[in-house]
């Protein structure tokens, strides 16, 4: 058994700082130097966390001003008036801790929560796959880094041992012998033991400061005074007592919310909050070993009087679907940025929540030194998704030929990120289309000898009526000369779009080729006889 204990010494403070604008904790590189907990919170100014009117945590900037644990709120604000004071929130901490557990689940299925902001992961079975313990720890740190937490990692042969070692600080070297491990457990102070918390004063007066002191005492007496839990924990840490732990399972759908400390009025402030949620989302996807296929961001607005009548106006829902599922926070973030930048906000946002149920099982793609066909295709899809997020789906179009003679119906437009294969033309295809690959692949290398192009590249959305002079159509006052035709297109009697037209290829004075038509029937009085349908581009 090999347990890794992940201790988050400043979790409460960090989860609060994540709700602050403008500097999200998620952008800082944690994990590089796990001992320097405070450095990454330096640029948010003094921040303190209050629980039951007492300061329970303060960052370095606040401590420099003299704010200390246990002070009253008024004292802290007196010492540092700019301190941003937040209430401790166990639910907020738990959501942040869950994201860390999700990351650990990407490495092993055996993950459980120890007390005191510790995540325990049993990784013995995963060592070979990840290339040994040092590499696994390195990857674990790298995956945890975007969450922006200060970390203490500790490796131990037992879960209880990993919990105690991690809360004591960084300790990733393994004990070689049982005696060495016994010595390490023996050195654990009683203050780290959860079971000893109610008895700390008694233990101190008895002169019992460490685990070794405890196990040298008569067991019966200790059990009578302090209960059986204390000794049982020590036995579990040493490996003398079985220690089954309930394993966490990732939730089937992802739901996470973030209450913003300050109202957010612009997309930049929203994005910093959304980045925290997106990092949690990718951690969850990692735990599920899947790729995110889309998500929904709900922005909860500050309620105003005029909104009371309409509860739906209090929430803005942003749905982001992806053509290709991804596991990449940066891409999700860029998509969200494009959407948020063009989203008008009805009111300030006080809370946001992220919901995702679209997950595709699959391994994330390998990273490559040189671009391959697969990575180019992926980049192409991502580019189109960004266009779609910014310009709207209706502005990104794919063309699909339809088996219809009428030119206005022969091309179907479909959204650009729709990756389903363009379906082939059905049976009874009236127009034969060149084989895929086209003339360039099949016919002669000289384009002048390609088969005849039967349709113009450019079609006018609305056919343009042409004036007529002595039976000749005029365009811009110049006569058009008919050089080929007629080609009769008579179709649509079955679907109400009946048209019967005679198409001609015409040439204008400059030599450009146009596609013009006239109706088969004689034009009515005041109706144009000729229409311009398209240009041969």
């Amino acid at each position: 058994m090999l347990w890794i204990g992940i201790h988050l010494p400043a979790l409460s403070l960090e989860s609060f700082i994540a709700t602050l604008a403008p500097e999200p904790a998620g952008e800082h590189e944690a994990g590089e130097d796990p001992d320097d907990i405070d450095r990454m919170h330096d640029n948010v100014g003094p921040v303190a966390l209050i629980d039951r009117h007492r300061v329970v945590a303060a960052n370095a900037a606040a401590r420099e001003c003299g704010v200390r644990r246990g002070q009253k709120r008024a004292t802290a604000l007196g010492l540092a008036p700019h301190t941003r004071v937040g209430e401790a929130d166990a639910a907020r901490d738990e959501a942040a801790l869950m994201a860390v557990a999700h990351v650990a689940m990407g490495f092993t299925p055996s993950v459980s929560l120890g007390g005191d902001h510790v995540v325990l992961a049993e990784v013995h079975a995963s060592l070979r796959y990840f290339g040994g313990l040092p590499r696994l720890l390195q990857r674990l740190r790298a995956e945890l880094a975007p969450l922006g937490h200060a970390l203490h990692l500790a490796c131990a042969p037992t879960a209880q041992g990993a919990q105690w070692m991690a809360t004591g600080g960084e300790r990733t070297d393994l004990a070689r012998t049982k005696a060495e491990w016994r010595a390490r457990v023996g050195a654990v102070p009683v203050t780290r033991m959860a079971a000893a918390a109610p008895h700390l004063a008694t233990l101190e007066s008895l002169g019992l400061a460490t685990a070794a002191h405890l196990w040298k005492q008569p067991r019966a007496g200790l059990t009578r005074r302090f209960g059986g839990q204390l000794l049982a924990d020590i036995d579990r840490a040493l490996g003398d007592l079985a220690d089954p732990r309930p394993m966490l399972q990732p939730a089937p759908t992802f739901d996470s919310r973030l209450e913003l400390f300050m109202r957010a009025d612009d997309s930049a402030a929203l994005l910093t909050g959304a980045a925290v949620l997106l990092n949690r989302l990718t951690a969850w996807a990692l735990a599920r070993h899947g790729l995110v296929g889309g998500f929904e961001l709900r922005l909860h607005h500050e309620s105003r009087r005029r909104m009371l009548d309409d509860p739906s106006a209090r929430t803005t829902v942003l749905e982001i679907g992806l053509g290709e599922p991804v596991s990449d926070t940066a891409h999700l973030h860029s998509l969200l940025r494009e959407r948020l930048q063009r989203l008008p906000l009805a009111a300030s946002v006080i809370e946001m929540s992220l919901h995702c149920h679209a997950i595709t099982p699959g391994a994330p793609p390998n990273t490559e030194l040189f671009p391959s066909a697969a990575s180019v295709g992926e980049g192409w899809h991502r580019l189109l998704e960004r266009f779609e997020a910014r310009l709207g789906a209706h502005n990104i179009q794919r063309l699909q030929p339809v088996a219809d003679h009428r030119p206005e119906r022969a091309t179907a437009l479909r959204p650009g990120t729709d990756t389903t294969a363009l379906c082939a033309r059905g049976p009874g295809t009236p127009l034969d289309l060149t084989a895929p690959g086209g003339p360039a692949a099949s016919a002669s290398p000289d384009p002048a000898h390609w088969p005849r192009i039967k349709r113009p590249v450019w079609l006018l959305r609305q056919p343009q009526p042409l004036r007529e002079q002595a039976g000749t159509p005029l365009l811009g006052g110049q006569p058009l000369w008919l050089v080929a035709g007629p080609e009769r297109i008579e179709a649509g009697w079955w679907d109400g779009g009946y048209s019967a037209r005679d198409y001609f290829i015409a040439q204008d004075n400059d030599g450009a080729l146009l596609w013009v038509y006239r109706f088969r029937r004689a034009p009515e009085v005041g109706e144009a006889g000729w229409y311009l349908q398209g240009r041969f581009g």
């Binding site: 192409w380 310009l391 063309l399 650009g416 363009l422 289309l433 360039a440 390609w450 006018l460 030599g511």
Partner: protein, 235 residues
Amino acid sequence: MSSPSSLLPLEHLHPALWRAHQLGRGREAVQPSGYAALDAQLPGGGWPQRAITELLLTHAGWGEIRLLAPALARVGAAGRGVLLLGPPAEPCAEALAQLGLDLSRCVVVRGDDLLWPLEQALRSGQVGAVIAWAPASLKGEALRRLQLAAQSHEGPAFVVRAESAAAHPSPAPLRLALAGAGPDALAVRLLKRRGPALEDPVLLALPPVLSRTARQRALTPRRTRTSVQAWSALA
């Protein structure tokens, strides 16, 4: 794969790879245009990659897509995407397919502000070929930005502009003016290229729209006269 690495210089492995002490080789990769007469006059023998190519024409419908079709077909056949930004009319799927374009890799982008998608597409380097119909208001400084962005674009990038833009300088290293030269023929005047100036336009026979008899009809003396007039107006 048995040859020791000393026999094979590393920089020959991939065009994007060079040693730190060498200059980036900037090997001017080109995309053959498919027209031998035009390739002979283009620097490097084809449409430049990693650079903007300007096409100037009075209005759509001279045969500009037929001119680009062989290059676009090759891009699609290589499995890369083609972007059409702000086309002047509705593209006809059947005609594009007949010209050899792979429609599954062909995407049309519309919108009011096309500079943003154009720049993003060029910068991403994930697009095989880009054709953008520039608004008349396109500024020289915007073109410079695009030219910079195009340096990471592996493929040809065409910006179609109005002919009046020929009077203004442009950072694009290659500028062509297109005009009709009779039925299914195109006169390409090279306004700017890296190399000596070319006085006479290059005459190209495009993929035909007209049958042989129809072309004969279109080439009656009256027709030839007018197309000659059009030419002299260009020159």
